[in-house]
Symmetry: D3
Subunit: 140 residues, 6 copies
């Protein structure tokens, strides 16, 4: 098995940047405040996990070039709505979606569509989460 991988790293447009640095940058672009909140919440219980969260989801995945951030956030809002068991993260990503250019209407349409795939309860609970996020002063 080939052990030399750095040449296939699609997320690494700046080889002098570490995965952590690239992840921090991407997280700030998408939803900086939420990222800092999670790191703070994990500081005393699992600081390594905050590091993994910045490195893998943001440093590796979100930094990849071939799917735009708007589509990525629509995908996550849809998935977390369908899963129905991660309301805190769904709220973070509804906020992130607005931040990268998804309109409120598009967020609501995405969540409503999940009634078809995961049922009306999942969609209803997703809409209530969106209602909470839209009501926050910073999102007025």
């Amino acid at each position: 098995m080939n052990t030399n991988q750095s040449s296939t790293d699609q997320s690494n447009t700046n080889p002098s940047q570490s995965r952590y640095e690239r992840g921090l940058e991407k997280l700030r672009e998408i939803d900086g405040k939420a990222g800092e909140n999670v790191v703070a919440a994990l500081a005393d219980i699992a600081p390594d996990f905050a590091r993994y969260l910045i490195e893998f989801p943001f440093g590796d995945i979100y930094s990849r070039p071939n799917l735009d951030l708007r589509s990525r956030e629509i995908a996550v809002v849809a998935a977390l709505t369908a899963m129905g068991n991660a309301t805190p993260q769904l709220k973070v990503h509804i906020h992130a979606a607005l931040n990268v250019g998804v309109t409120r209407t598009e967020v609501v349409e995405t969540i409503m569509q999940m009634a078809v795939y995961a049922g009306f309860p999942a969609a209803l609970n997703g809409l209530m989460a969106a209602k909470d996020v839209f009501a926050q002063p910073a999102n007025a």
Copy 2:
């Protein structure tokens, strides 16, 4: 409570068209063959369900104007990958995504991203489903 709803029907750009007719049209635009297959499979066990499936998901939801089909199919591929228990439908929608202009690369990126939200098994099984769909002659 207001009982006159037709004026708020965002999916109804052609009022002389029934929900079923509108749904059939939208289903053919997105993935006609799969739609006919499902209707046929349901014919002897639950024909009414085939009708609901065409009327509500396609006649009501997919016909709504404020979220494009490309985004809608990215959302469904993400959700069904994350749910991990609806492989036949995931394959139908991977095919539908290609049909409405989502590239293979974008389908693969969407599924890979689900490793963050639903775990590596969900993403792996989604990638194997995509592999099957891509291998079908009609999709070569």
Copy 3:
């Protein structure tokens, strides 16, 4: 494919009634106050979704003649208990079950049975939801 569907509409015992009107009537029969609450909660974020919720679940599905309301509510209480991620809707349907003639004992038996299919946590959390509903003054 046949485009003329109205003759197979099993829920339409009164053809002059719209799906919305039929749905409203059925919702009031099952649990009117909860229905009004949901419509109100959705008014500013997704009014169309309130309409779909009345038209499809209640106008189409619950209006169908071949399964009685008591069995339908037992089925929903069982499913939402097993799913474990829709507690608000589970409480609504525990209340609806009582409303259509399912006894408290039968509600509790249904939820307990879910320990076999979805585990003790799902059943325990369902019993705690039932406990909340039973304690409400209107249900004394």
Copy 4:
């Protein structure tokens, strides 16, 4: 805490019968062949588990008097359809439902209703499972 429990055992209408014997009897009443199949399948890997399966679900839960078998099987078919990840057991219970007096129409109505609570994929896959069970010679 009170350690004397036998006086509150609602399932024990025949105190000289063990939970296992009561469970075997109930299992045969509901779906005997399936029960024997499961016991045989577990014989070389986990025989104790076959015993628990007969004792707890059937000896304890299904033997309880206050919810009829028809309602219990409707509840299970609904729950397993909604969960979407237990197709072998769903087929066993569709067969058991027919066995205790639930009609094919009622089985199909129960599964269709799950489109509202768990989405169209779950309901579709449940209908395909029912189609398989209905096609078996013993169920013609």
Copy 5:
């Protein structure tokens, strides 16, 4: 089928003890206070369910000799984290894990590992549950 099962009962090292008595003993060894809390919470709604919970999980399963309690609690913490819809029970078992000798570090490692199998949201929510449990005075 053999109806004489007591000879294969691996959990019964003391035949004069009922399953309930054995279960109570095991529950106290693992997490007595939580057990009493659950019994009390169920007293007025489903006392039989409290009995089943003591008899089957603790009297039958946890009393079995071939897997140590430390491994059993690691298994449960992992499973409930991955399921993501049973936070009250996850907290009970994080506490129970500490009680039977799993260190805080090992609890955190188990939960973090679930990011691979069920996604980062499941792991994050599990870590927040652990944070709550660790902060309780009795666990300082």
Copy 6:
């Protein structure tokens, strides 16, 4: 926020080794053949995903020192059994568990225990997966 993270990297006992190399080594220690199979299966559809799978789960998580491999594999077998929608990965990890010193009996006990937390169907399907793995010639 601190951008210098390498000093807190608990998995990096050999700083000259890349995450990929460390991951490959750990994967071979746990279940080499399965790892090569997954990389091969992904080669034409998503080779980057094979790299992430080796780097994050194995290079980062499984290489961490404070939870032994035997406990880690018990945790995964439990979680995948409870989730019920990742049978291919469950089989891989049952095999991996045997490989790192978990006995067949311990694997079976872990899966049986999941009947309490995720229901009898999940446990039954897990036992059938174990039965398949145990029957493979390499595991005789």
